[in-house]
Every structure is written in C-alpha cells, then in structure tokens.
C-alpha cells in the first residue's frame, strides 16, 4: 500500500534528526533544569541552546522566546496575556479566517465584555486593510492576525498590518504556526509584538510550541505557579521536546529556502496537473501570496469527505473543508468568509506538502485522482450523466 502524506498543515513527520537529538533527554539527561545540582545544570544549557535556535529562526533575542506546550497555548497566552496586561480595557481586533486557537480566546474576551471586531477578507482570502484602518481609528487595540492561513495558505501582509497597529499604539500578535519554517519570518524587520509557533508543524513532535514576546511588551502570564521561563510560563520545562523544537528550528533555518523552492515546484506540478485533468475545479485563495506547500482546490458537484476516503483507499492523505469532515455540519469558515460558493466549499480538498514529498508521489496522485473524481461525479445528482 502506498503512503503519500499530503496533510502537512495538520501535522508533519518528526524529522529523524530531531528524534535523535531528543533521545538523551529521556534516558540520561532527565534532570530538572531549575535544580541546583549537576543533574539539572547539565540540562539547563541544552534548553538555552534550543531557545537560541528558535530565536535565530525568527530573528528574535533568546530572552524573547517562551516555550509552551503547543501553538494553541501560545495563542491563548498571547491574546489573554496582552488583554489582561492592558487592564482588560482595549478592544480586540482579529480576522474572520483565524484558526480556532485564536478565535476561541477572542470569543471568551467578548463574553468578558471586550469589544471584538472581526475583519473580513476578499474573494482571494486577503484581508480588508481599509476595514482594519477603520477599526484602528478607535485607538490602541489588541490585534491578532494570522501570518498564513492553515486552510488556503494565503499570506497576510503582516508588515503592513504591523505598521498600522504600531501607528495606532496597539499590540500586534500573529499566529505564525503555518508560516514559520515555510517562508521568511524575521521579527527584526517586521513589527510584530507577539508571535506563536508550533513544533509539530515544522517536523518536531507534538506537545511543544513557543511564543515570541518582544522585549518591553506588557504581558500577564496565563499559566501561574512557578518562575520558569522568566516568570512568563509556569511549569517544569518539557526538556526533550524543547530540545526537539530547537533542532527542528535549526534545520529549518539551514534548509528552508532550498526545501521550499523544491516543495513549491511540487505543489505547482500538482496544481497544474489537477486543473488539466479534472474539469470543474477551482483553486481557492490568493495564488500570488500563498505558502509554497499549500494547495486548496475545489471539485464542483461532489463532496470532500468522499474524495478523502477514496484518496485514502489508494494511500493518499489530504484534508477537506467540507462539513462532513469537520465533525460539525458547518463547512470551512475560511472558505465561507471568502465567499466561495457552498457547492465549492463542500468539495474542497487541501493538499499540503513538506520536504519529505517527492515528484513521484505527486505523479502517483495525479494518476489516481481523476478516476476518483470521475467516479464520484457519476454518482452525483448534480452532474448531467450520459
């Protein structure tokens, strides 16, 4: 059975080098980095080395990096931490296409009385900057906007957004979980104040993330009960995973450009191949400003889950924005915010690649996909079948 993994925006394969680097911290160096003895002391240095590697990948100072348990924790800590540090007085501005990890905490702040504004996007998934400018006229705000969208790969103009927020005196958090490791992210050049990243999206294992907090930004910690992470995140450090994240960031820093150039070529080959072999398909999202690894494509008149199951039967893993795959009955909020017609939302499939994919896998998928689409359309009452 073939094993073609095109669902890297959901999670990635941990790199063998990363797992290798983690091993000693389970077996030998299992000390607590806060301890005042050699068991701990040996470990502390490796945690700090990992911190420096994460910082280097995004152009931060090591002291600006806080390790967390995942991207979702980073998002929660950032949004709540800044809102509370400002005395819970500032309005909150976010977008309509955020990941639930941002949308959820913003909803909670709304319940607590915050004024929350959600900025819409256009048909290509790009943020409505005029609306953002309007919203910022109200004075300083907590702004949370994703760097790149997990479903469509659309990249927001973070530089511009950051400058607007800064001019208004606000604080800018960006969920960069999908961006880090795929496109250049440099907080020295881009005015972001807080940035979330996640280990398992860049070939580290699940269970570790980081939050960048720019020096001087007011932040109230969300996890309390210990002095770890310079009093910004209590809890004994998850040492092996932190080391793993450090290794993954080091690898990303060294190989990102070259890897992503290759990945983009594979994605483009897949996209072009599908568009020529399958009629009635459309690519969702801004094709110019898009992650190099992501392709979101809609197959009209058929439904995403049946496409995924059929692909899975031939060993290809992808995901869909259809309602049936979400566990709820609502299809993708991202595609709907973009005004993609319902028919196309239900039949949307996301292919997300990584450095471990090959051209042979793309060609295999291009062989397998057209008959699947054809078969499902033959079943559909919305297609004129002969």
């Amino acid at each position: 059975m073939r094993n073609v993994y095109f669902d890297n925006n959901a999670t990635t394969q941990p790199a063998p080098e990363v797992l290798e680097a983690m091993q000693p911290f389970f077996r030998e160096w299992w000390g607590n980095p806060s301890s005042m003895h050699a068991f701990g002391g040996r470990v502390r240095g490796h945690v700090e080395e990992a911190r420096a590697r994460v910082a280097a990948l995004i152009g931060a100072e090591p002291s600006e990096i806080v390790f967390t348990s995942c991207g979702t924790e980073s998002d929660n800590a950032a949004i709540r931490g800044v809102f509370e540090a400002q005395g819970e007085k500032w309005p909150v501005i976010t977008s309509r296409v955020e990941h639930p990890a941002v949308h959820g905490p913003c909803c909670r702040l709304k319940e607590r009385g915050a004024r929350v504004t959600e900025i819409g996007v256009d048909g290509s998934g790009q943020l409505d900057l005029n609306r953002l400018a309007d919203a910022l006229r109200g004075g300083p705000a907590v702004v949370s906007m994703m760097w790149a969208n997990n479903e469509t790969g659309v990249i927001f103009p973070i530089q511009q957004i950051g400058e607007m927020v800064r001019a208004a005196g606000g604080v800018f958090h960006t969920d960069a979980v999908q961006a880090v490791g795929k496109i250049p992210v440099d907080v020295r050049q881009t005015p972001v104040d807080l940035l979330s990243l996640s280990g398992h999206k860049l070939h580290a294992p699940k269970g570790v993330g980081a939050l960048y907090i720019r020096k001087g930004v007011k932040f109230k910690p969300f996890m309390l009960g210990g002095h770890q992470e310079d009093n910004r995140r209590a809890g004994t450090e998850n040492v092996p995973y932190i080391v793993g994240l450090g290794k993954a960031c080091e690898m990303a820093a060294a190989h990102r450009e070259e890897d992503m150039r290759r990945v983009a070529a594979l994605r483009d080959r897949l996209e072009a191949g599908i568009l020529t072999t399958c009629p009635d398909t459309r690519v969702n999202g801004d094709r110019k400003n898009r992650l190099p690894n992501t392709l979101n494509i809609s197959f009209e008149f058929i439904e995403g889950e049946s496409i995924l199951y059929s692909l899975s039967d031939v060993g290809v893993a992808a995901s869909s924005g259809s309602a049936c795959t979400s566990g709820s009955l609502e299809p993708s909020h991202v595609l709907r915010a973009m005004g993609v017609p319902f028919t196309a939302v239900h039949g949307s499939v996301r292919f997300s690649l990584s450095r471990y994919n090959t051209q042979e896998e793309v060609d295999y998928t291009l062989e397998q996909l057209p008959p699947i689409i054809h078969r499902l359309r033959a079943l559909s009452p919305f297609v004129e079948n002969p």
Binding site: Y309, D313, A323, C324, T325, E330, P381
Partner: protein, 283 residues
C-alpha cells in the same frame, strides 16, 4: 477518520443501483448542494405493484452514499406499503450502524423514499415536503420533521437532533426551539407513562390514604421544598382534609399559600385522590 463499519465502506466503494430510471414510477429528491448532501431516488414497479428496480444518485459523504445504496437494496421487492414503513433505523441497521453524527444520512434516505412514494401516488414533484413551521432555517428542517425523527429514534438532546436531522448544526439560533420541542415530547412521554401506571381510581381506606399521602410527600414534595430550604410535615388526615405543617424557609414564607395549593395539593390530588384538600395546621 469516522468509525465506519466494513459494510458502510463496502457500499461506499461499490455502491449498488447507481443511476436514474428513465421511465420511473416514482421520483424523490431531497437535500441540496448548499446543505452538503442530496439524494435522488427513482423506482419502477412491477405488475404486482412491487418495487422491481430502484436507483439512486447522491451528492454527499461516504455514509450518505452508503445509506442511499443500502436503501435501494432494502426496498427492492417491497410493495409500496411495505416500503412506506421503512425507517431510518432500518437503513442504519442494514449497514451495521452509522456514527451518531452521521445518522442524518439515514434520515435523508427515508425522506427520499417518502418523497418518491408521494410522487407516485399524487404525481406531486416536490423536492422536499415542507409542512409546518420551519425551525432550522440553515438546513430547512420543520417542526414536524424534528418531532418525528425524535420520536422514532428516541432522541432526548439537541445534539442528537442535530446528528439526525442537521437542525441546529448551522448558525445554532434554533437550538432553543429544538429544546422546546424535546421538552414538549418529554412531557408527553411522562404523561403517557403516568396514565399507564395510574391505578384505577377506587375508594381508599383511611389507612391507605395516609400511607399514600406519606409516600407522595416523601417522593414528590419534600425534595422540592428542601431544594429551596423548606420542609413539610404531615400532621393529620381527617377524611379528605390533609393537614400539614410547613417548616424551614417555608414557614412564614409569603408564597406558602401558593405552595400549599399549587404544589402540595396538586401533587396529592394527582397521586392519591382527586378531591383532597390541603390545609395548614394552626399554630
């Protein structure tokens, strides 16, 4: 991935009876592209009035396709009366069960079958028979439909109703209305159960009356009053007069008279005798 049975996957991978019967006797269409699933069912009768052939076309997920395929297999050879009695549970059972969240696929099958039979009998070509008040505007689900599916499948929570009918699965604004329908069905069930249990009314001896009054106080009244910090005590039973004393927060409460008449007396009349009179003991 969903926990689909082998049979669901088999009917998804190798659906039976795909297509449209050109000169069909009955055609039923339900769902829409916007809803995320849709089914077109056609059947042809033989000389004896049995379903000789049935075909389907489905837009939807794996379980929607499997449910449609199963439906066509189930109804072949049936008379229309027999087919009219096919329920969504029959479709789900045929497939060895469906995940809870996917039960609406089996309901869609039953709806298409009904629409097709209706089309044969009346010639009406409604896409979906919409009768009664629409509760869920996102998916166009009526009160009648929710009630029916809830009854047939013994549903008790809004979440279950959403799983079976999709109602409430969109904007969620109708969840309160769905709960209202479920509450009404629950009350109807309780009343029906009570009617069945209620012993035939006959004259009670005084001993029996006292015992039943005691039991009802303990079971149905005291827990309720205690919940609000009050209590009640039986002082005496004289003929049809039940004399009680209110205790705790109930003693001296402004609404004690209301409690006595509308709660205590009502319950005792319901469970003991319909002509009891409750009075408060004089201090």
């Amino acid at each position: 991935m969903w926990d689909y049975t082998e049979k669901v996957l088999d009917h998804f991978r190798h659906p039976r009876n795909v297509g449209v019967i050109a000169d069909a006797d009955g055609v039923g269409e339900v769902g829409s592209l916007a809803c995320g699933d849709a089914l077109k069912l056609t059947f042809k009768l033989d000389a004896q009035g049995r379903i000789a052939d049935a075909k389907f076309q489905t837009f939807g997920c794996a379980s929607a396709i499997a449910s449609s395929s199963a439906l066509t297999e189930i109804i072949k050879g049936m008379t229309l009366d027999e087919a009219g009695r096919v329920t969504n549970q029959d479709i789900a059972e045929y497939l060895g069960g469906l995940p809870e969240q996917k039960m609406h696929c089996s309901v869609m099958g039953r709806e298409a079958l009904e629409a097709a039979i209706e089309n044969y009998r009346t010639g009406r070509k409604t896409r979906k028979i919409l009768e009664g008040k629409i509760i869920c505007t996102c998916f166009g689900v009526t009160e009648e439909e929710i009630e029916r599916v809830a009854r047939e499948n013994h549903l008790t929570t809004v979440e279950q109703v959403t799983n079976y009918t999709k109602a409430g699965g969109g904007c969620g604004n109708c969840k309160g209305d769905i709960q209202g329908i479920l509450d009404r069905l629950a009350r109807e069930r309780e009343e029906a159960a009570r009617r069945e249990q209620a012993p035939p009314r006959r004259k009670l001896s005084n001993i029996e009356r006292i015992r039943m009054v005691q039991e009802t106080l303990e079971r149905d009244i005291r827990p309720m009053l205690k919940h609000d910090g009050g209590d009640i005590e039986l002082v005496d039973v004289e003929g049809r007069r039940v004399i009680v004393a209110l205790r705790g927060m109930c003693a001296g409460c402004q609404v004690a008279q209301f409690t006595l008449k509308d709660v205590v007396e009502a319950k005792l009349r319901e469970f003991v005798e319909p002509d009891l009179i409750v009075e408060e003991a004089r201090p």
